[in-house]
Symmetry: C2
Subunit: 352 residues, 2 copies
Amino acid sequence: MSIEDKQKPQRNGRVTIRTVAAHAGVSVAAVSKVMRNAYGVSDALRARVTDAIETLAYRPSRAARGLRGRSFTIGVLLIDIRNPFLPEVIAGVNEVLGPSHYQAMIGVSDARVQLETSLIESMIDYKMDGLILVAPRLPSEILAKFAVQIPIVAVGYHNASASAFDTVNADDQRGAEIAVEALLACGYRDIEMLSLGERQGHAVSVVRQREIGFRRAMQRGGLGSSPAIGKIPIASPKREEAMRKFLSRKDRPRAVFCWSDLDAITLLSLAMEMGVRVPEDLAVIGYDNSSTAALGLVNLASIDQSGRELGQIATRALISRIEGRTASEHIFQIPSLVSRNSLTRSGNSTDR
Amino acid sequence: MSIEDKQKPQRNGRVTIRTVAAHAGVSVAAVSKVMRNAYGVSDALRARVTDAIETLAYRPSRAARGLRGRSFTIGVLLIDIRNPFLPEVIAGVNEVLGPSHYQAMIGVSDARVQLETSLIESMIDYKMDGLILVAPRLPSEILAKFAVQIPIVAVGYHNASASAFDTVNADDQRGAEIAVEALLACGYRDIEMLSLGERQGHAVSVVRQREIGFRRAMQRGGLGSSPAIGKIPIASPKREEAMRKFLSRKDRPRAVFCWSDLDAITLLSLAMEMGVRVPEDLAVIGYDNSSTAALGLVNLASIDQSGRELGQIATRALISRIEGRTASEHIFQIPSLVSRNSLTRSGNSTDR
DNA sequence: CGACGAATGTAGAACGTTCTCCATATAACG
DNA sequence: CGTTATATGGAGAACGTTCTACATTCGTCG
C-alpha cells in the first residue's frame, strides 16, 4: 500500500525524471545529478540510472529545465533569411553545436527592430543559454542591456569597444579595400560603390564599414577625397529602378563595387538586359561570394568572408562565455578576393 | 509586518506575475486570467492589471508557461536552409504569425533523420504549441506518433491519408504535368527528367510526386510507357559530374525537366560552359520559380508553387488545429507555369 | 424575503526540473 | 575505539506560470 502512494507518476503518458527514478530505484535528485554529471555519484548508481534512462527513452523537459537552470539551447537571430550569406552562418553554427549537447533555435527578424527586440526577449524568456545575433539592427546600448541577462555574441556588428558582449566579424573595411585594390590592379580608375540605402545600416553595420574601407582605399589610390557612393534602396520595385538609373547614367563609372552579391547579381542581370557589357563596359565586384556568384552564368568576382567560419567561431565564443568567461572578445577574420569574369575577361573562372 | 511577509518577490531583478499582482493589488490568479483573457474578469480589474503590466514592462516567462500550459510558440522544421524555396515558406509563416501572439522558432535538420528527430523532440520538450514540418524525411508512422503529442502540419509531404496530422502541398504531380505539357506545346518530344538521387526521397516526398506526374504526362502525350528519369546526386562534386555526363551524352534529349531550380540553374550554367545552347540545343524547365531563375541572366522557365502561400496556409491550419480542430485536413494548391527563355526564345521574359 | 444563479475574485495544487542542504555510511587516523 | 574527514545519496524548496475548485458578492425572481 505504501508503495502505491508513490505511484502517482505515470498519470499521463509522459516519462519524467520521477519515472526514471522509480524505475532505477533511486531518488529524483540522483537522476538529476547523473544527467548533469555532478559531483558525488558512484559508478554503480550512474550505471543504473543510465540504464533506466535508456530503457524508458527518457528525455528531460526543456521547458522545466529552462525554469530552473540550463536549457541547453542557444538562440540564433537572423536579420533576414533570404540573403544567402546567412544560411552559411547557420551551417557553421550547427557544425560546432552538432557534437555538443546544445541545440540551436533560430528566429528571423526580417530587419524589423520591433520584431528583433521581441525575439530576443522571447529567447531570454525561454531561458536559453546564449544568443548569437547575426547583423542585428539594435544599437549597442540596448544589446549591452540584454547582455547582462544572457551571454551574447554578435556577428557582423562592428563594435570592438563593447564590453558586455563579444563580436565576430570579417574585417569589412579590409574587404572593401581588397575589392578596390583589385579594381585598381585591373587598371580601372573611375570607380564607384553601390551601397545600401541610408536607413538600412547604422554606424556599426557591415555596410558602413565597407563604405569606410572603400573610401580609404580610394584615397590611398589617389582617387579623390570623397569618392562616389550610391545608395540602393532595399525594397523591390525601387531597387531595380535605382539600378537601371545607375546603368543608364551618361557618366556611369567604369567599375563598381557592390556592398553585397545580392545587389551585384541583380545589377549584372539588368546590365545584360540593357546591353551594358560586363566587364568591357562596366566591371563589377560583389561581396559574400555566394553560390550564385560562382555560377558560370553569373561569374561574379566577389569578396569572400566565410560565413561558415564566422558561424563556427561565434559558436565557440558563445560556449566559452556560457561556461564562465566574462572578459569580452572581439574576433576578426580577413576576407579574400575571388576573381572572376565580371572583373576582367581573364578572371580566374575556376576559383579556389 | 504581515505585509512584509508577502514581500518575498523581487529577490532577483525579474518582474514576475507576482510582482504584477502585488503592484496591482490583486491575486496572481487574476493577473493570469487577464493575460489569457479568460472568463470572469471585470473591466476595472482588467484595467488595473493591464496598467501594472505596462508600467512594470512585464513579460511572462515562456519557460514557465511551457511547463504548465501554452507557450505561444510554434516550431518550424526546415530540411535545409540553403534551398531558396524554404525561406519563402518561412516568410509566409511569419506573415500570418505577425499579428497573432504566437512566435516562430526555427530548427534546421540538414536532411539528417537523426537530427530531424531530435529537433522535433526538443520542440515537444519545449512544450511548443504546434509544429510545421517542411519537407520532413521521417516516415508517416513516426510523424503520426509525434502528432499525438503535438499538433503537426507537414508541408511538402504527400500523404493525404494521414489522419493524425495535416498536410499542405502544391500539387506536385500536376506541376510536373504542366511542365511536360509546356515542353510538348513547344514541339519537343524527346524529353527526360532529371530527378534527385534514390536515397534522397521517400515515396511521399515532393520529388517522387513530380516523377509520377512526369511519367503520366509523358504517357498521356504518347511518349512511351517508361520515360527516362535520370538521378542526380545531391552532394557537390558528384552532382556537377553527373550533370556534365548528361550534357555530353550523344543521345542527350532535346528537353529536360529538373525537379528543382537548384539543379536546373546549375545545369544551365554547365551547359553554357560546355557550349550547349539553351534552348536551341536543350530546353530546360525547373521547379520552384526561385528568384535566381527570374534573373535576366538565368532566365529559367519554372513551375511556380508559391512557398509564401504554402507557409501562410500551413500556419492557419496549424493554429486552427491548436485551437481544437481534430479532423485532419489535406490542402492542395495548384502550381503554375512561368515561361522564360530556357523554354523557347520567345519565352515570356517579363513575367509577373 | 428567501433562494438560486451569475459574475467576479482567490487559494493553492500542479508542471518537471535543478540545486542547496542534510543524513548516512565508510574510510582514515590518532 | 572514538573522532573526524570524505564520499555518496536523498528531501524538499525553489522556478513562474496555469487552472481547477472554491468563496464571496450581487441581482433577480417567485
